[in-house]
Symmetry: C2
Subunit: 301 residues, 2 copies
């Protein structure tokens, strides 16, 4: 049976009742698995990690859009994380028994559905986009909700689906397909935002850093700290530990240490094994040596 | 269904046909799961990681003894790892749905069976032993096969089961029950055995080191390296990363670096997570965030 992961990011991270209702409505969809819900009050954003086959997602994702659009009004929305829409971005990710092509098809079909039902402009991104200027989420999102009307008026920024002007409260939405990524935050022991921004610039590909890294520096006001908020878009090629070690080194240049890090949502076991193997200098280690994997394997020989 | 792990260590690590036959005979036992087989030619020792319920182990373990005793003649046996018997040590470990008490009962019952069937002296150890002088494997094994006749003649060293003199080719066997341990080797970039022995002495509890660590230094002749061979007997209290970092530091005192490390056999996922959390300074991380765990969980909500 096909397993496709879908990770909608919605622009609500503070009202728990709203978040809970969105999650409960998703759980009610047959065949929809709600693997994880992560909310961040500083970002004012929640990330739902879902899994199902194409049929379950086709039924369930429009329901999420319905609830989010009804509950979230972006006029006056404040949060540390950039956002374009009430449902900001919805990627589909092939996990098992599904291909990237199938995920692209699914993304386009759901984009067509929600744009029509909710009069919502939708941009395709990553593998679902055939326009290099509109492939990267950051390029599409630049200007955010507040700059959307002006952006959509420019040549080259008409949406892939839906009306030519923003939804008044839900903005626009980005939908597409991509490989599994790891959402990873590293908190630094300073309140100087400039340090987090400099470290982010040092590690991300766009400004000269590691290839499969996106990063930005944001403040954590209530804690008096700053955060390097990171997306690892290909952990197999650019592993977690290399990014962590580089952040430590770059932060040390400013006399700043790492307080802690956090993985947001789900992470493939292989990515964790990579880091264990690196730090412990483990040779010849295999996932088959993990006791729980062995016990659950179907091979009873 | 109860899952009891059993990890027999046998004194054969070089003759692949012998090891394969022992493994195949185990696989043929209904309900016996052969999770892993690790052989080490330098140690001249193999470790079988098995899992099953009490019934499967009661049927299967005596079969292992039969095969090992027939194939392994300890007179003239050479290997870096200390050994008392053809089947050197057989611990039973409660994993799921089984208690330590049940594992102790199982150990004693199998000890009675094999001692009688094969005229083999058997010593109980760890949780199965009620004698503090004969609880620790190292205390029982001291003197090894070659010193066994003299040892068994002493007061206080009559075996718990079986004859009062060694089996002529199979020596004696140690059987018991304990918590899961991690077998972990760290290879050092030197051929000076004294360095490995000093590092081992520094890290192990018996000579002043970390509480839940047993360790010894051995040569890896064919590689021109030395090895600190470690058992972590309670990884929850004395974690892998702390032992690794201490070995690095203690070896550096001699100008020696760590070449690599290896985990022998199986390791609980939690022990790996501990190390990832330590090195990446991960906060709030849970095994539920591992994608494969989520996909396999029975909770489809």
């Amino acid at each position: 049976m096909a397993v496709i992961e879908c990770v909608p990011n919605v622009s609500e991270g503070r009202r728990q009742d709203v978040i809970d209702k969105l999650a409960d409505d998703l759980r009610a969809i047959p065949g929809m698995r709600v693997l994880d819900v992560q909310s961040d009050a500083a970002h004012n954003r929640s990330v739902f990690t879902l899994a199902g086959d194409a049929a379950a997602l086709t039924a369930g994702i429009p329901t999420l859009f319905e609830g989010a659009i009804a509950a979230i009004d972006l006029t006056g929305h404040q949060g540390e994380h950039p956002r374009l829409g009430a449902v900001d971005v919805t990627p589909f990710i092939p996990i098992e028994g599904a291909t990237m092509a199938e995920c692209v098809t699914l993304a386009k079909s759901i984009a067509a559905t929600v744009s029509e039902r909710f009069s919502l402009p939708v941009y395709l991104y990553e593998e679902a986009s055939s326009n290099p200027a509109r492939k990267n989420l950051e390029d599409i999102r630049r200007g955010e909700f507040e700059g959307l009307a002006a952006k959509m008026a420019q040549p080259g920024w008409a949406p892939d689906f839906g009306p030519a002007t923003p939804h008044p409260t839900a903005g626009a939405s980005v939908i597409g397909a991509r490989m599994a990524l790891i959402a990873y935050n590293i908190n630094l022991n300073t309140n100087r935002l400039a340090v987090a921004k400099k470290v982010a610039a040092a590690i991300r590909m766009s400004s000269g850093g590691l290839r499969y890294v996106k990063a930005m520096g944001i403040p954590l006001e209530d804690r008096g700290l700053v955060q390097v908020s990171i997306n690892l878009t290909n952990y197999e090629k650019t592993p977690i530990f290399r990014v962590f070690d580089l952040v430590k080194r770059e932060a040390a240049r400013y006399g700043v240490s790492v307080v802690e890090s956090e993985i947001v949502g789900l992470v493939p076991a292989a990515a964790l094994r990579q880091s264990v193997e690196y730090y412990l200098q483990l040779e010849g280690f295999s996932g088959d040596q993990v006791l729980e994997n062995k016990l659950r394997s179907d091979d009873r020989r």
